[in-house]
Each structure stands twice: as C-alpha cells, then as structure tokens.
Symmetry: C2
Subunit: 216 residues, 2 copies
DNA sequence: ACCAAAAGTGCCACTCAGTGGCATAAGCCT
DNA sequence: AGGCTTATGCCACTGAGTGGCACTTTTGGT
C-alpha cells in the first residue's frame, strides 16, 4: 500500500537509503554551521548528530566545505543537465546559457531552496575556505559546460575563446545577482533572483563602455 | 664599502633578513613541489630544507597553498598598486584596467618571473586546493580593486555593477590568456603574454554575439 | 527461500596541516 | 651597554582526511 508520502518508489531500497543519509548530512551540517559557525563545528559532532561514522561522511562528500556547498552545487549540476537538453537553435550562446540557467532555477524546490542557498552563501562569505571551494566548483562547471557545448555546437577555435568568455560572464553575472538578491530588503524569493539576473545581464554590454571619470 | 651586489642597502637588517627567508621559502617550496609533487611534499620537509621552524613558516604564509601561489599573487598586488597611481582620465574603465595590468606585468622581473608563474600555474592545474586558493585570491583582488576605484572615480550605483563586471572580465581574460600562453609551442616570454592578453581582449565584444549553431 | 557476490558501513590507527602559548634570541634605539 | 621590541623556536594539541580490513545489508540468480 504505497501512500502519497513515498513519491519515488521506483528507486531501489539501497539508493533511497543513500539519498536519505546524504540529505540528513546536508540538513544537519547546515543547521550546525548556522548555529555554531563553520569552524567551530567539528566533523565528529556532525557525524554523531547524524549517526554515521566519519569514514562514511567522506564517502559522500570530499571535504567539510563540500557538504556545506551542496545546495549551490545542485543548481549548477542541474544547469549542466539543462544545457545537455535545451534546443540551441536561433539564439546567441549567451542567451542559450541564460535560458539554461533559468530552466535550472525552475527545477529547484521553491520551498526551501532559497533559504538553503542563502545560508550557503552567507557561510561562504564568512569562511574563506568555503568561498574558495565554491569558486573552484564554478570553475569546474565552466570547463564541463565548455566541453558540452563543443559536442553540441559547431564552434571554431576562435569561438572557443568567445564561448569561454561568455561562460565566465554568466558565472560572474549570477554571483552579482546573488549578492543583490541576498542584500534586498524584502524576503528573497526565487522570482526575485530571476529578476536580479535579468538586471545584471542588461548591464553587461555597458560594462565595456563605462567611462572613467576622476574624482575632483 | 657598499658593492653593486647589495643594491637595496637602505633597508634595515631585520627587513632584509625577512625578505630573504620569505624568498628562500618560496624558492625551495616551488622546487620541492616541482620535483616531488605538491601533495607528496610535507611542510616539515620544506622547513627542514630551508632551516626554519614550521611555526615560522606560518608567520610568512597562511597555508601550504599560499607559498606556492606567491608568484601569481605578486602580480596582482602590483596591479593594485598600479591602479592606485595610474591617471584614469579619458579612458573607459576596461581600458584603464587593461593598462594597469600591463603596467604591473612590466614591473615583474623579466628573468625568472615567467618560469615561476608557469610553474605555479601548472601546480594549480594539477592540485584542486591550489586552484581554489588562487581563485579565492583573485576574488579578493577584484573586491579590493572595486573599493579602490570607488575612491578614485565618480561611480553611480549602476556603474558599480558595470565596473564589477568589467573587473571579472579582466580576470577571466587574463586567465584565458595565461592558458594560451602556457600552451604555446615556443618558450613563453613576458611579451608573448602581453600579446595573448590583447588577443583575448579583442575577442570580448564578440563573446556576446556568438551564434549557437547546432551540430548536424 | 537460500546463498553468494556486491555494495555500503564501522572501527582503528595513522599522517599531516595548522594553532596557542611561552621561553629564547636577535635586531633596534638612546 | 642595557632595556625594549620583534622575530624565532619548541612543544603539545586539535581536527581534517586516508588506508585497510572486518562486518553488515542489499541484490540477483537459482
């Protein structure tokens, strides 16, 4: 008698268990990091709280930073999936990237994703090693995306350079939008973030033409 | 009787000693990392080789990654200095940044800087934690540069966004140029790097207009 | 239903980066 | 010279991350 509560019954038991421990680890980690700070929380504490050995933790995450960055990584993993499936015709590459990002955002659970990702962002802004980890992950994402686009699009060697720049620009724009999103006075929602992204994207062309005017 | 060998005699003894230890640490670290690999080299080995206690090492560098990234950090520190002194009049911000970067490059010692920085780059490409450290440092540099430009230029809130994008673009362009530089068939010189930077900068406007053409 | 292969977990001992605290030595100033 | 400041060394300690192996759970075939 499968109730509505178990929505993904298609998955085998082992897989469900794994997802559950992974989710438990992320959930508890974010709570502990939030309450006591990232540095002040030890992995032993986290593992005790979840009821898992430290050895097992490192079979799910590569580092202490990694578990805290999970929410933000989910977005970019989904982004890559979208990039694999979105029809690329009749668009500039930058518009394609923008669209794939919006599609990825749409996939994120509207309920708790904003709070989670904002918490991750706050932790990253307070903890250099976390920010570094996040930047590295984004760097990996651009590399993967570039390879992906090469398999799907016709790109000359010159285009490779331009597309790479476009990807870096996307990441940069997203981070700036995220900052504005986190700083806004009202409670940040997913739609707000989409608006901020649009705003930053509109500012991109002007970034090449801003004049330097010396202070008097 | 000050000989030509001691060029900066103006500095007090203590300061000279400090610079020397710092330089020794960087020099030896790069050599050991190059010979045995970053992970395989322990800080104890490095400290033994230089004749310094581990405690002292951490008074010069914040981490193992930090000492290996020193050559690349030198450039960006000099870049910020240039940004403080360059006359900003009659230019776009992006041109100002480009120029400051070239000026910083000019300050680098032509003899060993290329090899050093290429080694650092290779290590970073092989070692995630080093790449992450490097990206974080660049991130800090853009933040500092942005604050700096605010003190020297008249920037509206909208301009802030645009200038931030321009800074990210500069970093992105530099990294792409550096990759091309490292990959070139002939021995990379400082002038080659300058040429690569110019090439990437020229490609920037087109990065916004590349069309996505699906593979057949 | 049973059993063997496979996949996941726990435990233990270990390495090594990084820190705090205090005693000692080296450069500085008059 | 002699006190003052600053840099270094030493030691003990925390905590992240790993290797290895024994143990348990799931799975798939019969």
């Amino acid at each position: 008698m499968p109730t509505a509560a178990s929505s993904q019954t298609a998955l085998p038991l082992r897989e469900r268990k794994k997802r559950r421990t992974r989710e438990d680890l992320i959930e508890t980690a974010l709570r502990l990091f939030d309450e006591n700070g990232f540095a002040a929380t030890t992995l032993d504490e986290l593992c005790d709280a979840v009821g898992v050995s430290k050895r097992t933790f490192f079979r799910y995450f590569t580092s202490k930073e990694d578990v805290a960055a999970a929410p933000s990584q989910d977005l970019w993993t989904t982004f890559l999936d979208q990039l694999r499936t979105t029809d690329p015709t009749d668009r500039t590459v930058i518009a394609l990237l923008h669209e794939a990002l919006l599609a990825a955002l749409a996939e994120m659970p509207a309920a708790n994703w904003p709070t989670r990702v904002l918490l991750t962002r706050r932790l990253a802004s307070e903890t250099p090693s976390m920010k570094a980890h996040d930047l590295y992950f984004c760097h990996r994402t651009t590399k993967t995306a570039l390879n992906l686009l090469h398999t799907r699009l016709v790109l000359t060697p010159q285009d490779d350079l331009r597309v790479h720049l476009a990807l870096d620009l996307l990441l940069s724009a997203f981070h700036l939008a995220q900052e504005a999103w986190a700083a806004q006075p009202t409670t940040p929602t997913k739609n707000d973030l989409i608006t901020h992204i649009a705003t930053v994207f509109e500012a991109v062309p002007q970034s090449l033409t801003v004049k330097a005017i010396a202070r008097p």
